[in-house]
């Protein structure tokens, strides 16, 4: 097996930062959700790569195999993926409702529309 040291963490961090960038820099709400799921996958990759043991086998008991990879991160991430898609669906549903009441999914346009409404409400 090739020695790769900390490279796996750096891949996860790169993906995480890519997702983070999308979330904070882009105004489109759908794009932000894509960024969030990118961020999420980076965490998945981090966990799974931590669960890997050198020369280990998949954690399904097989005769003649001594070293298994750690099953615990697999369990955590397996459920996290399914929960992740469910929460993404909730996010998308919210975006759809926003689009229906504001007519746009761009953050700045929504702000511009919400601002005068607030002032009217206070005055």
């Amino acid at each position: 097996m090739i020695e790769i040291g900390h490279y796996n963490y750096w891949v996860a961090i790169f993906l995480m930062m890519a997702g983070f960038y999308v979330v904070i820099a882009q105004g489109n709400l759908v794009k932000k959700l894509v960024g969030l799921s990118l961020f999420q996958t980076s965490v998945f990759i981090l966990y799974i790569s931590m669960g890997k043991v050198a020369d280990g086998a998949p954690p399904i008991q097989t005769p003649g195999v001594e070293i298994y990879s750690n099953p615990l991160p697999h369990v955590l991430i397996l459920t996290a993926i399914v929960v992740g898609v469910a929460t993404t669906a909730v996010g998308l549903a919210l975006v759809v409702r926003i689009r229906e009441s504001y007519g746009t999914v761009e953050e700045e346009e929504i702000h511009a529309m919400a601002q005068p409404a607030d002032e009217k409400g206070e005055g």
């Binding site: 097996m1 020695e3 790769i4 040291g5 900390h6 490279y7 796996n8 790169f14 993906l15 930062m17 890519a18 983070f20 960038y21 904070i24 820099a25 882009q26 105004g27 489109n28 709400l29 759908v30 794009k31 894509v34 960024g35 990118l38 996958t41 998945f44 990759i45 799974i48 931590m50 669960g51 043991v53 280990g56 086998a57 954690p59 399904i60 008991q61 298994y68 990879s69 750690n70 099953p71 615990l72 697999h74 369990v75 991430i77 397996l78 399914v82 929960v83 992740g84 898609v85 993404t88 669906a89 909730v90 998308l92 549903a93 975006v95 759809v96 229906e100 007519g103 999914v105 700045e108």
Partner: protein
Amino acid sequence: MVAIAVIKQRNLFTIAMLTGIYSFLTAGLFMDLDAVDVAFTEAAVGAGVTTVLMLSALRLVGSQQRPTRHPAIALLVVGVTGAALIYGTLDAPNFGDPNAPAHTHVAPRYIEQGPVEVGMPNMVTAVLASYRGHDTLGETVVILTAGLAVLLLLGIQSGPEIQHNVSAMGRHMVLRVMVKLLLPFILLFGLYVQMHGDFGAGGGFQAGVIVATGFVLYDLVFGEGNLRKVLPTVWLTRIAAIGVLIYGGVGVFSLFAGHPFLDYSALADDPVHGQHLGVLLVEAGVGLTVFSTVLIIFYAFSGRRRQQ
């Protein structure tokens, strides 16, 4: 990398397809890292369900994105955070190091005792359904809640474009025949994955998603009227709740039998036999909930008409 392309693209349709590709690549990576169950889930969920979801949401919100304003500040923040995180990894254990803290605490017990105590070779299923049964119950409830939240936000409408027996793709002979041929096998495969989770990769989460994907595929090609006649929303919400109920009921049953909550050895005289039965029931509950939640979400998105 695909991730960069995802950021660069401004057309959201392209992004939806690219995230599908990205998910497949991730699934391949998980496979390489020995996480067969996770790879399975990622391939079914990420590449299948998420793409369909994204596309049906885009139908509702429109697909063009405006250019961004100030990427420089964002880039700076991201750079600083990334640098701090990389500095943090310098102390972390090397990749694949068997002595890393993650492998020395509870994991050896799961690996050594799991197949003996729970009596099933797939340790992931053993940990998922038996040792960490409470967490999984919580996650199943979260999925149910998410499905209900989508239902509350969007409601189930039947849009004006729905015609019985006909949809845009429905007139293509090849598609119709292929879907008809594939559908039984998809459903059969889903059931196999559900039942075989004890021994190989698979389980309730994956099976639920696979079966739901089969129905979604049919719906996409044959129009939306038929599927809703066979599986009305009212039934789906009931099935989702019943799934959670089965899971919780197993726990309550073990309480009444004088054991801790979700202790499956209460289900039979022989503890290992009880574990088998418990895991089977719990996985069935998870499968039902996941299946019907995915379909509820799909109904909610596809039935909503676009409002100008």
